[in-house]
Amino acid sequence: MSGAPLLAIESLTIALPAGAERAHAVEGISLTLARNEILCIVGESGSGKSMTAHAIMGLLPQPHVRATAGRILYQGEDLLAATPARLRALRGHKLGMIFQEPMTALHPIMRIEAQIAEVIQQHAPLDRAALRDRVTALLLSVGLPDPERLRRAYPHRLSGGQRQRVMIAMALALEPDILVADEPTTALDVTTQAQILALIRDIQAARQMGVLLITHDFGVVAEVADRVAVMQHGRIVELGPVDQILEAPQHPYTQSLIAAVPRLMAVPKPRAAEAGVVLEAEGVTKTFRQRSWIPGRGTEVAAVKAVSLSLHRGETIGLVGESGSGKSTFARCVVRLLEADGGAIRLDGTDIVPLGRRAMRPFRQRIQMVFQDPYASLNPRRLVGDIIAAGPLAHGIARAEAERRTTELLALVGLDPAASSRYPHEFSGGQRQRIGLARALAMQPGILVADEPVSALDVSVQAQVLALLADVRARFDLAMLFITHDLRVAAQVCDRVAVMYRGEIVELRPTAELFADPRHPYVRELLAAVPGKRWLPAVAG
């Protein structure tokens, strides 16, 4: 952290096209990145953090969005004034970038070796043998096993974590001075995230690179950052060493952000008195079959293997697991969006698995669902009022009564009753999630299945929606099945936590117990991988 800065951004302003939400994506920000340091830019969606990263790489979607003022100096050279040819020479060579979505950032029909080789051949051509050795060495250096086989693989054969490693290998191919990483671990599972963060940190230290890491997650910041810049509405509101920002934030916005970060501590809740069982799953099994025209060539994936649990009135069980663990599949079997292959799911004592569509209808009112994506879960062509009233109307409730419930529920979830005559696109993500909750509550269910209800939201909004869920739950004495990949969120809301791994529940215990003393090795691994676990928000509580 010494010497002249590698990269200096001086009062950079990026203009948005006319008619956008605000005039500037980024307004007059200044920061520096030194050799051998990791600078994290933190902010919520729309804060301009990604735009800043793209501006450095010359990747702004011009001509609609462009830098109108300021300079971006790379070792004294202004990147904004550089010619396209000069930028091409720098990008990939001196400036490397890792993108958020490893699934789409690689060329789908190009072998891994060819993709990495392309970067090298573009800037510093090597002969074939040397190139091959270089690619192998790179794949090894990012911790990919069996590089000989992997070199010839296509991206679709790789997991998300492996692809992100390939992306890092590509970015590092020519040992750049600066690595820009735009939310590099957001799309990854928590254990993979921990590995990738460790990898970035190790490589950064070994090569003395400057790393600019964009993230929305303070846990990630606590793991890797040397310095932190907090952005809000296109401005840097606070900039300083990581300890200072995390332990003694000065700006009110930083303080509120940090206060909203869910902590990995079970919030002690008054234990609900042993109430009746409302939902009982026994040996639920779901296997996905890919049939083939050729007999015997079909494939089978056992997504859920004999899962059993019982949910009591007023209780919240968290279903935690990584992608592919079967938690969502199980939840969808419970609400009968999928047909379970085996086992029993009892709602107040009645097994709903064998019920036909018609016989299932009366039970629909008792169990409702809140979905993950606030943008996909509301029909864009229907008014909010109609969306909320649709359920009651489908069950033969009079229109007047349905409308009365709608108004009541909108108020309950903290929205203006006038919202019912507007369309979903007029609302923010958090507000839409409230509408989704109102839709579920309109059926007056006894059980709520929430499938990652807050994972698409910013932390501050996340905290509000979680508080609303807690309130609703207490008010209606709801039992809740809460699916999440985030242990920190599970700790906040769940009475008991069930950790799923490869289709099975490996541990199901009261939250505090499970966190204090995990028994299953996978649960231990999962807890260890939570980013920022060593750091507890100082201003929390």
Binding site: R336, M369, S377, N379
Partner: protein, 278 residues
């Protein structure tokens, strides 16, 4: 009225809409401007455009070409709109059912669709019209029957992606019935591409109808542009205007419909609209 603004930004589409409006106006006003039947002999045959007050001349039997075009506009527009409506109702329903239910229903409907797609459109059309004897109903039905398969495919594709959306799952969880989910939840979201291809389909229907009439398979009681060209093709070397003007009418109408279709497509899918088209 964001939609109108986006549509108006595409100059070609506005021009197309204007031409189309002109054709519609002509069709509506035909009985006023040319009160006599277009089949009636109005003067001596083979008058050149402008001669004896015939703006577009007269044909081999002395019928007014301008009157033929005006009355033909009625027939052509009516036929193409109704046949597109027929194609739409078949295509949307089959596509929606196939896409929504998937599985063997989808297989069945799609094989049925492919059966139609493997037979060349126009030949099937000629066969159908010949079997049912040419009349306005048989022509409309036949054009509808040969043009629904692409629509069914589009609707099916939209349904396949939309049915796994969370808002559709939410409708299932609420216990809504299948018809409600198909028509109330999914279809409104699948309409944009349907509208665009329907507008292009009207253009195809104009061409199909003209081609049928050209071959003499049109309704013998209706004056249409295709019939005029067909009847005049033997004298094209010494009386070009008899086939030229109906040809221009067809070309302009089809072009206008295509421009409007493209404009609709840009306006309904703003994210796919080509950049830099100020």
């Amino acid at each position: 009225m964001d939609f109108l603004r986006r549509f108006a930004r595409n100059k070609g589409a506005v021009l197309g809409a204007a031409v189309l409006a002109g054709v519609v106006l002509l069709a509506l006003l035909a009985p006023v401007i040319f009160p006599d039947s277009p089949w009636e002999i109005a003067g001596p045959p083979f008058r050149r455009p402008g001669e004896m007050g015939f703006l577009l001349g007269t044909d081999t039997l002395g019928r007014d070409v301008a009157a033929g075009i005006a009355h033909g506009a009625r027939v052509t527009l009516l036929l193409s709109l109704v046949s597109t409506a027929v194609a739409l109702s078949i295509g949307v329903i089959l596509g929606a059912v196939a896409g929504y239910h998937g599985g063997w229903v989808d297989d069945l409907v799609m094989r049925f669709t492919e059966f139609f797609q493997t037979i060349p459109n126009f030949i099937l059309l000629v066969v159908l019209v010949a079997i049912f004897t040419p009349s306005i109903t048989s022509i409309v039905t036949a054009i509808g029957i040969v043009s629904w398969p692409p629509l069914a495919r589009i609707v099916r594709g939209e349904f396949l992606t939309l049915r796994s959306r969370e808002f559709v799952q939410a409708a299932h969880v609420l216990g809504q019935s299948s018809p409600r989910i198909i028509f109330g939840e999914i279809l409104p979201n699948a309409l944009s591409p349907v509208i665009v291809s329907a507008s292009l389909m009207v253009a195809t229907a104009v061409l199909l109808e003209s081609a049928l009439s050209f071959l003499g398979l049109g309704d013998p009681n209706l004056m249409s542009w295709g019939y005029m060209i067909g009847a005049a093709r033997t004298v094209i070397r010494h009386a070009w205007w008899i086939s030229f003007f109906p040809g221009v009418a067809i070309a302009l109408t089809v072009l206008a419909l295509n421009l409007v279709g493209e404009g609709l497509s840009d306006a309904l899918n703003p994210r796919l609209a080509r950049k830099g088209r100020a």
